[in-house]
Homo-oligomer: 504 residues x 2
Amino acid sequence: MASSQLYNSLLSSSLLMKSHSTSAVHHHIPKLVIKCNATPSTVNTISPPPSTTKFSAKYVPFNSISTNTPTTEFYSLNEIVYRSHAGGLLDIQHDMEALKQLDGEYWKTLFDSRIGTTKWPYGSGVWSKKEWVLPEIDNDDIVSAFEGNSNLFWAERFGKKFLQMNDLWVKHCGISHTGSFKDLGMTVLVSQVNRLRKMNVPLVGVGCASTGDTSAALSAYCAAANIPSIVFLPANKISMAQLVQPIANGAFVLSIDTDFDGCMKLIREVTAELPIYLANSLNSLRLEGQKTAAIEILQQFDWKVPDWVIVPGGNLGNIYAFYKGFRMCQELALVDRIPRLVCAQAANANPLYLYYKSGWKEFTPLKASTTFASAIQIGDPVSIDRAVYALKNSNGIVGEATEEELMDAMALADSTGMFICPHTGVALTALIKLRNSGIIGPTDKTVVVSTAHGLKFTQSKIDYHSREIKDITCKYANPPVQVKAEFGSVMDVLKKYLSNTRLH
Amino acid sequence: MASSQLYNSLLSSSLLMKSHSTSAVHHHIPKLVIKCNATPSTVNTISPPPSTTKFSAKYVPFNSISTNTPTTEFYSLNEIVYRSHAGGLLDIQHDMEALKQLDGEYWKTLFDSRIGTTKWPYGSGVWSKKEWVLPEIDNDDIVSAFEGNSNLFWAERFGKKFLQMNDLWVKHCGISHTGSFKDLGMTVLVSQVNRLRKMNVPLVGVGCASTGDTSAALSAYCAAANIPSIVFLPANKISMAQLVQPIANGAFVLSIDTDFDGCMKLIREVTAELPIYLANSLNSLRLEGQKTAAIEILQQFDWKVPDWVIVPGGNLGNIYAFYKGFRMCQELALVDRIPRLVCAQAANANPLYLYYKSGWKEFTPLKASTTFASAIQIGDPVSIDRAVYALKNSNGIVGEATEEELMDAMALADSTGMFICPHTGVALTALIKLRNSGIIGPTDKTVVVSTAHGLKFTQSKIDYHSREIKDITCKYANPPVQVKAEFGSVMDVLKKYLSNTRLH
């Protein structure tokens, strides 16, 4: 451990960066000899890595990957293309042979050397893996808000108290610029749009139809880069609280007297007419950023592979992004295996769960019912094929959570010092069930992915702790206790509470 | 730059840690010789730093520091003491002679080597500076949620568009576990309480009277450590939204039929009777954690000292914490000067501003009026003496912001990709005024400290963008535009918007 840390720190991030930036000049990087004064007798010589390697990536049809079929269909990342010729999903394929010219130890050392670096843009958890994300973008074109680097929280109390587990971790992707994991993908999408605009591709803005985290992340990154963002929303269907992030971040918000599907239809029609880039959920650029969360988890475990990673799933892009991140680390020999993935759905929006339960026999889109886990309230997920591929190739499992289960799990997690969103409650419920059935063992190294900050979902917590949710007992509610403003009364109440506390 | 990064990365954080941990055994740390395989011909030898140094800290009366008067009054950090014998503020004094046995280069290298480390607890932005914070605590006693490491955001667009500045930065302390900078201090306070409890000091819990960020941070850290937390609040004076964090985090919340002062009085009386640790705002432990944000800023600038640092001020502990962090870096030769500090107050709660304007002649506590910057709505600040000392010794300035100014500044900042709280709006207003008057120059390296995540203050943003604030124009409001669900109508609205956008 000590030796690997030392080894990792031997390489200078700035040197390594230079050699990979496609725009940098490679000729004159000298060998560097540093005399270290703080500790005696330390002289260090580092040669930069080979500068001849050129990394690249392109769009290919996703089904050429999932069926392992060669294809002649591909598109430059500088093209504006959302679907394959046949109308299917796209995927970003990296030149793996180029990446393989450097070994696993090299990549681990490189990524570790960039943690928290002040060298733009490598301090970001996404752009510290730039060669694996968008290798050909200029650093100056990148729009970044120091994404990633989020806490991998040891859920010691939750694990021990409720699950008899000692190696449970929660990856807090929501502790971020806009408060959700969407930042990881949006930095990539907006950076690429920024690059296209600088290349004089006539894109006048970026549009999306989203009521939640996507429009928040889109508008924030666009605002930072001075790119117009356009958000289509169904009138009278959402609250100002859901709107406030895009509005504050200067998005042009159209409130349209239709439902969500109507908004989607209109934005597709509009972006076919006007040069507005569509930041929809099938976009494969975003997954390249999201996959870095998987790499970051490995990094935070000193490249030890967890046994399980549990991800909430609605539109199902994120479960594939995690798979892709882990698989790339395996393929490039940073690790020798990948974790088993669990996708967790709300029972009110569980088409993947039903598909899984049918033995992957028949997929039936459904109409999702209302769920507190509003970001995954999706009955016909865009990335269904991606998710199935990820789960089949990771010996994966799909779980589900009722409204009561997910809210109770959220309350229990919060009582141990977290402040999670309802989607994370869904993932924790899947964990609880797999742990209770013995499928996840007491010492299994397990990561639950938390997708948004609880501060985005305070109303659901207020409802729960006020016991104001229909058909739910709210059995872990912790409402305030009313007391008279008298020393004696306060002391009585406190003494009673403290004597109860001691008994636990 | 490249060479200093390399130099910094030469020392292994794990080795350095071992040599400083007071509980570690120092005898057998060998010289380490690492053969590095990833790059050719790199062999590195590092001797561990001297293991004889013992760091320590104690409570002393603050006025012995501010008047530079020797004192024989001091208290161990393991005592429970909030005020000096004479009733004044306390301060934590480190054994600077011990710290000075290592030079500035050494400390910079040590702190840099710990950025993002997986070695507990040094990955935290607070505990990476453990020797300067709580040197004598066992690592196992520390309660940490990876505080600090927050984004120092280059406010490129805000600076260039509104202020003709090119070196403006916003330190986003609110992108954190509980969403405010209070985490930085609370990890220290709760860790020390955890230590005391493990030493069998009979503390049954930690209490505070706070409507906002303090109770949120207190209850989260206590919950993680399984320490009862007790929050006193005035009944019917605050909303469930303000309550939801402590309630969710399992605090015992007493809603008392009195006002805030009544709650403070009762909790002081109660903690004099019951063994409940008082996490009040005069607590000097918390400032030790908060001061690390200053050190982190220097670190993020590669130890280049900014010209200005602007901090919102209410109870005024934080401005002193920043001063203390910067001054310690100067005293221990990490940097050769400190920034000029600006404390920014809401005009509705501006006792420090008035004191400053009087030429520090007379301080008059006042009754604060309501402000959107609710966390600094304080008329009689506990840390007034600390703030005055910090400002006088940093050639400091005090600014103020009206409600309209702070809300407008917040809206402008958000429009450039941030999502700040009203307190940060106060700080930005102070910046705008100092920039307009020419006191802050166009190329001055300037940092604005953002104290909480905007997600904690969405209601104020909703009010602003709905133009529903009395006596305020809300001139940068960006309300949604209503459109009929017809392709033609949508296209018309969009084309008009886009033609306006192109003109800007």
